[in-house]
């Protein structure tokens, strides 16, 4: 696809585990095991899945903060794999990341102003002091931080304010892509809503593409144009937001959606819920066949034998299930 800002092809990240006797590897955790996706400018792709599904690894591998074991990340038509360290660094100014723990991702010994100015110092070292300050204050205003906070330190702020600082730092270079790794999971509900609205506004105003990683489907539904579901390092389903929530095709997606408690007592108590059995299997030793077969209410003998491919089930709605959309 030519209009893709970012195109990920069959990305794999395997982490070797410990070393056995005589330096032999004891195997590896397959955190990502062949993930492909496309992201257009100005679009939000929500990445959902449970802990250990590989969603954070995916965000980091796309930015090459973790080196992929195999596969390719194509950014504006060029493979990141082919770039040398200098070229990769230059390209990184267009791709930023914000993290789950807003306080832990800010240097406690730097002032808010220094933190937000840091990317400018790295990428535009020739910039004068006055201009740097002007840009920092503009970035702060854009995310809703008062100018007088510029000389204060991160510990003086609440979680929501710290996340705004992280967003200002990510936005100051005017990136084309921001990877948001669980950006609101650590925040209170009333603050979550503020940050989601802020990200949506920044996207509208700057045509920003967002890769929004979250385990919270309610939040993902609110911010995403498309949704991608990961399970044990593999893509289970990709679809437009409305199609995904109206008619999820993969049994895992259906279980995920049905597991979320809705803040409405009558609806909540009347709902038919799909309760999955058991826990996520270890990514060290994923099930043979479909990765979801050990917990799938619909699994047949074929699912234990043959891994389903991620196929277009119509209108660009992709699902990896032998029985997609049935039952």
């Amino acid at each position: 696809m030519s209009d893709a800002l970012l195109s990920v092809r069959d990305l794999k990240v395997h982490f070797p585990i410990g070393r056995g006797l005589l330096g032999r590897s004891a195997g590896s955790v397959r955190a990502l095991d062949g993930v492909s996706l496309e992201l257009r400018a100005g679009e939000t792709l929500g990445i959902v899945g449970e802990s250990g599904c590989g969603k954070s690894t995916l965000g980091r591998a796309i930015l090459h903060l973790i080196k992929p074991t195999a596969g390719n990340v194509i950014w504006l038509g060029r493979s990141l794999h082919d770039l040398d360290a200098t070229a990769l660094r230059k390209e990184r100014r267009n791709m930023q990341i914000i993290f789950q723990d807003p306080l832990a991702s800010l240097d406690p010994r730097m002032t808010v102003g220094q933190i937000i100015a840091r990317p400018l110092k790295t990428f535009e070292p020739a910039l004068g002091k006055t201009e740097t300050e002007r840009r920092v204050l503009a970035a702060m205003q854009e995310v809703g931080l008062a100018p007088e906070m510029v000389r204060r330190y991160p510990h003086e702020f609440s979680g929501g304010q710290c996340q705004r600082i992280g967003i200002a730092r990510a936005m100051i270079l005017r990136p084309k892509l921001v990877v948001c790794d669980e950006p609101v999971s650590a925040l209170d509900v009333s603050i979550q809503a503020q940050i989601i609205n802020l990200l949506r506004r920044l996207q509208r105003e700057h045509g920003l593409a967002l890769l929004f990683i979250s385990h919270n489907l309610g939040v993902v539904r609110h911010i995403s144009h498309r949704v991608l579901v990961l399970y044990l390092g593999r893509v289970m389903e990709v679809a437009d937001r409305d199609a995904f929530f109206a008619r999820p095709l993969h049994p895992y997606s259906r279980a995920l959606i049905s597991a979320i408690p809705v803040p409405d007592p009558k609806a909540e108590r009347a709902r038919q819920r799909i309760v999955l059995q058991g826990d996520l299997p270890s990514p060290f030793d994923p099930p043979v066949g479909c990765r979801f077969c050990t917990r799938c209410p619909r699994a047949t003998e074929r699912c234990h034998r043959e891994e389903p491919a991620l196929l277009d089930q119509g209108a660009g709605h992709l699902a990896a299930c032998h029985y997609a959309g049935e039952g």
Binding site: E50, S51, S158, G159, G160, Q161, D188, V189, S190, I191, Q192, A193, Q194, I196, N197, R200, H215, N216, L217, G218, V219, R221, H222, R241, F245, A255, L256, I257, S258, A259, I260, P261, V262, P263, D264, P265, K266, A267, E268, R269, A270, Q272, R273, V275, L276, D279, L280, R295
Partner: protein, 336 residues
């Protein structure tokens, strides 16, 4: 499948005597800069057979209330007021006095099952210890009871797994072990502090179903502290909404969700992204940041963020006024 509210009949529950009566509970912490108030005078009651949700944001004091009632406040914390459990004062009692009820008649489930279980002890030893200490049963019988309880919380192969150490269980299984431990002595009062927050949604669903079933089976009074309004909607009969260390609103479940009276409750409900609403508009938000209790300052703790604030709100603390229908709200703008 949870298809009906948990308690059999709310009116019947309301008619029974409360098992826990909390009056004027205040909690303060001594910090280098002086005493800081976390909870600023709360009153509530719990009855057998009801599940009460305590909801609030960070700094609301929701977890500290449970810890104070269990006698587990940090060393620099002080509780005042009164809490009668089955007619007996439990606030500020010695560990020895509290241990007569703690772990047996009243029990608690914590948020993080990994840090709440002893990593050096087999699960069997941790479970049987509760029984040999509180009920004086022999170790063979204790083991039998413990295995049966693990089966009740649906741990497969309980007889084999009870010999394992906590790290050999998954997160969801560890939370089941915690629940089993809390229920071993069939407590009359069960506290749960964010019992599913650390778990994945599909596992959370399993644990919530389990808690709902067990609370009904044991006819205990259950208080669940959570920030998740979805969990409250699913499990609770009654809700207490906290903000800045004070109760803002208290009401039966449906009234809180369909007819909230306090501006904070309204704002909280409106800012939740819901799966059953149009996602095309911006979320409603509550401006400003959450705050801790104000201590001796006058006024409503929510006033700085309240869009309906009037002059009186920053001068005079609104009292929690009871309306006739089992509801109460602390707001100058809400007529009782």
């Amino acid at each position: 499948m949870l298809s009906t509210p948990m308690s059999a009949d709310p009116d019947a529950v309301a008619a029974t005597a409360p098992i826990l009566e909390v009056k004027g509970l205040a909690i303060r912490f001594k910090l280098p800069q002086g005493w800081v108030t976390a909870v600023d005078g709360v009153d509530f009651e719990l009855r057998r057979g009801e599940v009460v949700g305590i909801v609030g944001e960070s700094g609301s004091g929701k977890s500290q209330i449970l810890l104070a009632l269990m006698g587990l406040l940090a060393a620099n914390g002080r509780a005042s007021g009164s809490a009668l459990f089955q007619g007996r004062e439990i606030l500020n009692r010695s560990a020895r006095e509290l241990d007569e009820v703690r772990g047996s008649a009243m029990a608690m489930i914590f948020q993080d099952p990994m840090t709440s279980l002893n990593p050096y002890m087999r699960v069997s030893d941790q479970l049987t210890e509760v029984l040999t200490t509180h009920r004086g049963v022999g170790s063979a019988e204790a083991l039998e009871i413990a295995v049966r309880m693990l089966e009740r919380v649906r741990i497969p192969e309980a007889r084999r797994r009870i010999r394992l150490y906590p790290h050999e269980f998954s997160g969801g299984m560890r939370q089941r072990v915690m629940i089993a431990m809390a229920l071993l002595c069939e407590p009359a009062l069960l506290f749960a502090d964010e019992p599913t927050t650390a778990l994945d949604v599909t596992v959370q669903a399993q644990i919530l179903e389990l808690l709902a079933d067990l609370a009904r089976d044991f006819n205990a009074a259950v208080a669940i502290v959570t920030h998740d309004l979805g969990v409250i909607a699913r499990l609770c009969d009654r809700v207490i909404v906290l903000y800045g260390g004070r109760i803002m609103e208290q009401a039966p479940i449906e009234e809180v969700f369909y007819d909230p009276r306090h501006p904070y409750t309204k704002g909280l409900l409106a800012s939740m992204p819901r799966l059953d609403e149009s996602p095309h508009e911006d979320l409603r938000t509550i401006p400003g940041q959450p705050r801790a209790a104000m201590g001796d300052l006058p006024g409503c703790p929510f006033a700085p963020r309240c869009e309906q604030r009037i002059a009186r709100c920053t001068q005079e603390t609104p009292l929690l006024l009871r309306a006739g229908d089992g509801r109460a709200a602390a707001c100058h703008l809400v007529a009782p």
